[in-house]
Symmetry: C2
Subunit: 225 residues, 2 copies
């Protein structure tokens, strides 16, 4: 649930000869990754500098490099920490549930994540946009497997007539893109909507529209051309 929840010790400081992580290590690594997320999510890997991250983290550059040996290591640690949680909504997709409910709440969850964790969304967007040089394996491995599994669920729903016949992969892509759009292209959305519509209600407006679109678009009670 929480993006900041650790799954694994991220790195072991090079100077550390003990295996246990100290309190200071926990705190500082947290502090660094938080800053790294700020910077990487805006400028991408190539466009970000260790100095920028150091400044945001309020540490000296050598101090950063004491905890993460290289810029790559910092990026790696960040990706690892965020990736698992990022896929949670899709994992929650339940084959036994009611199709309409499942799709509706998947959209909701993805939209909430775009609202609450835009930096995480942009981190991946930047990475993928630039050819995913650091996460290719994750895409072709765990991600593909998860999507394959859920696509099969959707295909079964379509086959049994619970939803309209459709390509499950492109359905998933379209849910990803429409929801993440609000995080990744936030500046554009704001610019186009202007101040009138950029406030509180934006999230609800988007949710309502997308549910209408997908629920309506997937209604089974109509012959498809």
């Amino acid at each position: 649930m929480n993006f900041k929840g650790k799954q694994q010790p991220v790195t072991i400081p090079r100077a550390a000869k003990t295996l246990r992580r100290t309190r200071i290590q926990e705190e500082k690594e947290e502090q660094i990754l938080e800053a790294a997320l700020d910077v990487f999510s805006v400028s991408g890997f190539r466009g970000s500098t260790i100095d920028q991250i150091a400044e945001v983290a309020r540490m000296s550059k050598p101090n950063l490099l004491y905890y993460f040996r290289t810029k790559e290591a910092m990026h790696r640690a960040l990706i690892d920490r965020v990736l698992y949680t990022w896929l949670e909504p899709l994992r929650a997709f339940d084959a036994e549930g009611n199709p309409e409910t499942e799709i509706r709440s998947y959209i909701r969850r993805k939209l909430e994540m775009a609202r609450d964790f835009p930096r995480e969304s942009r981190l991946f967007a930047n990475e993928v946009l630039q050819g995913a040089p650091h996460i290719e394996d994750e895409l072709k491995g765990p991600l593909k497997e998860l999507v394959d599994e859920k696509a099969e669920v959707i295909r079964a729903w379509a086959k049994s007539g619970k939803i309209a016949k459709c390509d499950p992969y492109h359905l998933i892509f379209s849910i990803w893109s429409t929801t993440q759009h609000y995080a990744d292209f936030d500046v554009q959305v704001r610019a186009v909507l202007g101040q009138e519509h950029s406030g509180e209600g934006r999230f609800e407006d988007a949710a309502r529209f997308l549910e209408q679109l997908f629920i309506g678009g997937l209604r089974p009670d109509r012959l498809e051309t």
Copy 2:
């Protein structure tokens, strides 16, 4: 129609005291912008270097800087050249046309652009993702005005019952995001689809799905909740 069609002289070389552009200027600027598109569309502004562009363009760095005084100038020229064409599909959206046909062909056109001009799509994606520091004015000005105008068209269609009642802005956003996704997140799409579905048919599959989704989702002949 053609991305490479010039609208305006892009820059005037600093050394040029004449106002006319020579044949060499035309060719070299073309060559540079072509290379710049290659590089900027992958790495974004900050992550790209003049040396990279010079290498792709097969010119020496000072030679590049003879035509474009700074990295910013190159980026600026590129944006200017591409932006107008990029909005063409939306501009073609016809108030007098049949709603279903118009939406269908808007999706088609956007999808074709994602297929045929992925670099241009990524150029903007990178820019917007990183906070649109160089194109904020274009977003708040020309883009917003165009979208406002077309949103009004869609609203009128909804009001007269030709399509379902829906938020026209979020409809436009969702068409943008779903179509551009195939350019911007190409690596991910490929990774997930695997080799089986990544071939020729991908474009047609996506088009079919999106048309089904949007046409179905916007059918007026059903009371909305």
